[in-house]
């Protein structure tokens, strides 16, 4: 028999190794799953992890990498702040949707005006919308002790209904032949978030993601705020003793992660998505949770994990088209990644000993 023995400290080598192990285990188990379903496992793995970057259609799929990774990284940066402090914002998806709606509202209100301030105003509105949606669980937790996990998660479904209402009601395109959905912002120059370099997939959201990564690194490792966040997560009583007020930290972390998710939503609606539709929320807010953990809540890790998760999105779609793999493939893969990561994490905190 084996038993687990706690380690005195988590070795850095294991902290780096477990995400890689998790990816490998996901490939192996995923391959086994495909084989059981009657697909060629090697071909499937190659289609998901290799072809999007270097395959015959990579010219189309490579830019998609940045398109998908941008919002994931942007959202994950904000989530990582809160997760470090033990504040669990599970509702980034809702904040993403509300941010998009608020940003789009500015554009639609200004339409068809052509002015330089429209896009900056949309950015502000998007961030403010996400912030406000994130502050709801913060206020409920601080005033009534409500679990921010449940409240933020439930608000996702509220946000989805609001998106549907907007698409069918107030924001419906008056020239859209009664189809649900707002005007397409891609076709409205003052509000559009176009590709900055042709065929790179980079839009303002990607720029914002890089800035967010740098800011996260600075706050977490150089600023007293990051120290307080880490202290609150590691030892709440010590944080209080140091002078941290927990309510402030809750408001800050949920507010900032909400604002970043809102920004991601705004860049998406003004760019790749183009319009508010009933199904605007596509799961970035949930996948970003995996990105944050897979990246060890560290900016560099989040960058790599964001790119990897983007790859599974694109690869999964490719596998659907090329091999007729089921649409749930991506979700299964992402779920397995988180599952294996949490499982292998035991190895960073414990060592396995053979029982005498």
């Amino acid at each position: 028999m084996f038993r687990l023995e706690p380690r005195a400290s988590a070795p850095l080598a294991w902290q780096v190794a477990t995400p890689i192990l998790a990816v490998l285990a996901t490939m192996i188990v995923g391959g086994g799953l495909f084989a059981a379903m009657g697909f060629d496992p090697l071909a499937a793995i190659r289609t998901i992890f290799w072809d999007p970057l270097f395959g015959p259609a990579s010219g189309y799929s490579r830019p998609q990498l940045l398109v998908k990774a941008g919002p994931l990284i942007l959202i994950a940066c904000g989530l990582a702040l809160g997760f470090r402090a033990g504040i669990w914002n599970i509702g980034a998806e809702g904040q993403y949707i509300i941010g998009a709606i608020c940003g789009a509202a500015v554009a639609l209100a200004a339409y068809p005006l052509d002015a330089f301030w429209i896009f900056p105003a949309m950015i502000l509105a998007g961030a403010a919308g996400g912030w406000a949606w994130g502050m709801v669980p913060a206020v409920l937790r601080n005033w009534f002790g409500a679990s921010e996990i449940l409240v933020s998660l439930m608000l996702v479904y509220v946000a989805q209904r609001i998106a549907a209402w907007m698409a069918f009601g107030p924001m419906k395109n008056p020239e859209g032949f009664n189809f649900p959905g707002s005007r397409n912002l891609q076709q409205y120059d003052a509000a559009a978030n176009p590709e900055l370099i042709a065929n790179s997939g980079l839009h303002w959201g990607g720029v914002a993601a890089v800035l967010a990564l740098a800011a996260t690194w600075f706050v977490m490792s150089r600023h007293v705020l990051g120290f307080h966040i880490r202290t609150a997560g590691a030892a709440p009583r010590a944080a209080r003793f140091a002078g941290v007020r927990p309510e402030r930290l809750v408001a800050l972390c949920l507010g900032v992660s909400g604002a970043l998710a809102g920004l991601a939503g705004l860049f998406e609606v003004a760019g790749p998505a183009g319009q508010i539709t009933e199904s605007f929320g596509s799961g970035y807010g949930f996948t970003a949770i995996i990105v944050a953990f897979l990246g060890r809540l560290h900016p560099l890790g989040i960058l790599l994990a964001g790119l990897l998760m983007a790859l599974t999105y694109i690869g999964g779609e490719l596998a659907q088209m090329m091999l007729n793999l089921p649409a749930a493939t991506v979700q299964v893969f992402q779920g397995m990644l988180l599952f294996f990561l949490l499982g292998f994490d035991i190895l960073t905190r414990y060592r396995i000993r053979r029982r005498a």
Partner: protein, 506 residues
């Protein structure tokens, strides 16, 4: 006399890292007696009964039960040998009935009807009214304790250990309990009764074995001694001579008036008042759980209090947070090193940032100066002889004594106007304890005012100029330590009356 020994311990010893919990303990419990085990918190009562009940293996010494060698591997073996124990905290399932709970704890429970019949029979025989079909949730604390006692009695124990049984009982329930215990003793069962309620022991116990700091003081007839005398034996009569030279009480630095905290999970502070002068050490004694942690939290700023309750050099800090108070010169070191005074996962350098950020200039305009933090950690390590590889070592990797030296050193080097420490040498080996005490004395000699909260009376007598006791959240009026007798201290700590209401696990 030896013939009637049910239990005998000879030279029992147990050492934990840094603490000699039991040292050469020998005593015997006879059939038919109620034998009290008396001592302060940390005197070694818990370790001793855990040894008898098979939860702790002694390092040396031996035990006999009914004349035969007795060395239980675990509680199950202890129960099989005839030793039963009623814990202070009950382990019962609320949603189940009395009979179901008792059946759960048995190796081979008889059929339910048979068990219910035996429970009813026993409860009638011993005057412990209890209906086997009632749910635990509907029972009072006293009735729940009866379930635990009946559970033990069903095993027909020869030695019954009761851990502070009356702390959860009303006076009426306590009387019923003592009648039961007397009846049990009358039928030949030996009872080992742990408590620090002196009056209770004097009126109900046949003999008392007294422990102090892990050592046996003696076994006495409690009826032949006054509560004062018993308290003196518990607390210890030695007074150490200390050199208080170089310390001159100066102007008042800290004034606390009408300090009360709301009743929460812990003990509420009730109208606490104290005055502290510079260069003075005020010692606060008392059994843990009487408001010590709450007092430290109120002074450190973790719990804000009503305006006008805490003033440092005339400046009202009652509503100020910990960081404002530290900037003003009011520093504190909490009792719990891991997770309160320090973050175990963080390096020593990072742990300096918890309290020394502003006073040492380690954090300026929100930016952390890592080099300065590492340098300050190095300074603490050098000045306080902290045994560690260096400032990058995680705090949790240090031994208790070394981390405590680091925590105290961090605050002492912060040049406080007032320093409040809780249990500064708790769980620390003798060498480190002496170094910490010396550092506190030196700090006072340099003109700081100190409040030392401790359960170690020797420590308080050694350090403090004035002494007061914290009991049930109330602070007694201070008395000069000089000329204070141990009996007076015993009475201040609650004495005959206060001990009775101190509901504290040993």
């Amino acid at each position: 006399m030896t013939v009637s020994n049910v239990f005998r311990a000879e030279g029992l010893g147990k050492t934990y890292p840094g603490v000699r919990a039991n040292d050469d303990i020998s005593f015997a419990v006879e059939a038919g007696e109620i034998h009290a085990l008396l001592g302060e918190n940390g005197a070694g009562k818990s370790t001793l009964v855990k040894t008898i009940y098979g939860l702790v293996r002694p390092d040396e010494g031996r035990m006999t039960l009914l004349g035969a060698p007795y060395a239980p591997q675990d509680p199950r073996a202890a129960r099989a040998a005839g030793v039963a124990m009623v814990f202070q905290h009950f382990s019962l399932f609320d949603a189940m009935t009395v009979a179901e709970n008792i059946a759960l704890g048995m190796e081979n429970p008889p059929p339910r009807a048979e068990l219910s019949r035996r429970i009813a029979e026993l409860s009638r025989d011993y005057g412990l009214p209890l209906n086997p079909a009632r749910r635990i949730a509907s029972l009072s604390a006293g009735e729940r304790q009866r379930v635990e006692i009946l559970r033990c009695l069903l095993q027909h124990p020869r030695l019954l250990i009761m851990d502070e049984p009356t702390s959860v009982l009303t006076p009426q329930e306590a009387e019923i309990l003592f009648a039961t215990l007397r009846q049990l003793a009358g039928s030949g069962t030996a009872i080992l009764y742990i408590s620090h309620k002196l009056e209770e022991i004097r009126s109900h116990c046949d003999r008392a074995t007294i422990l102090r700091q892990g050592k046996l003081v003696g076994t006495v007839d409690p009826r032949a001694h006054s509560a004062r005398e018993l308290a003196a034996m518990m607390v210890g009569a030695e007074m150490r001579l200390v050199d208080r030279s170089g310390r001159k009480p100066g102007a008042t630095v800290l004034k606390v008036r009408g300090l009360s905290t709301p009743a929460g999970e812990g003990m509420a502070l009730k109208d606490v008042a104290l005055t502290l002068r510079s260069g003075e050490i005020l010692g606060i004694g008392g059994v843990a759980g009487n408001g010590q942690e709450e007092l430290l939290a109120a002074l450190s700023g973790e719990t804000p209090t009503a305006p006008g309750t805490i003033a440092l050099e005339g400046r009202d800090l009652s509503r100020a947070g910990p960081e404002t108070r530290r900037r003003a010169g009011l520093l504190a070191a909490p009792e719990d090193r891991l997770g309160h005074a320090a973050v175990p996962e963080f390096s020593l350098a990072e742990n300096t940032l918890l309290t020394a950020g502003a006073r040492q200039g380690l954090i300026r305009r929100g930016l952390i100066d890592r080099k300065a933090a590492s340098g300050f950690a190095q300074e603490i390590i050098r000045a306080f002889d902290v045994r560690t590889p260096g400032p990058d070592t995680a705090a949790g990797a240090l031994s208790g004594g070394n981390l405590q030296k680091f925590v105290i050193g961090r605050e002492v080097l912060g040049r406080p106007l007032v320093l409040v420490v809780n249990q500064p040498t708790w769980g620390v080996d003798a060498g480190a304890a002496a170094a910490i005490r010396q550092a506190l004395l030196d700090l006072a000699a340099q003109g700081a005012g100190l409040i030392v909260i401790s359960q170690d009376l020797d420590e308080l007598l050694e350090l403090s100029d004035r002494f007061c006791a914290l009991n049930q959240g109330r602070l007694s009026a201070p008395r000069p330590t000089e000329g204070l007798t141990v009996e007076e201290i015993g009475l201040m700590l609650g004495g005959a009356h206060g001990m009775e209401v101190a509901h504290v696990p040993a």
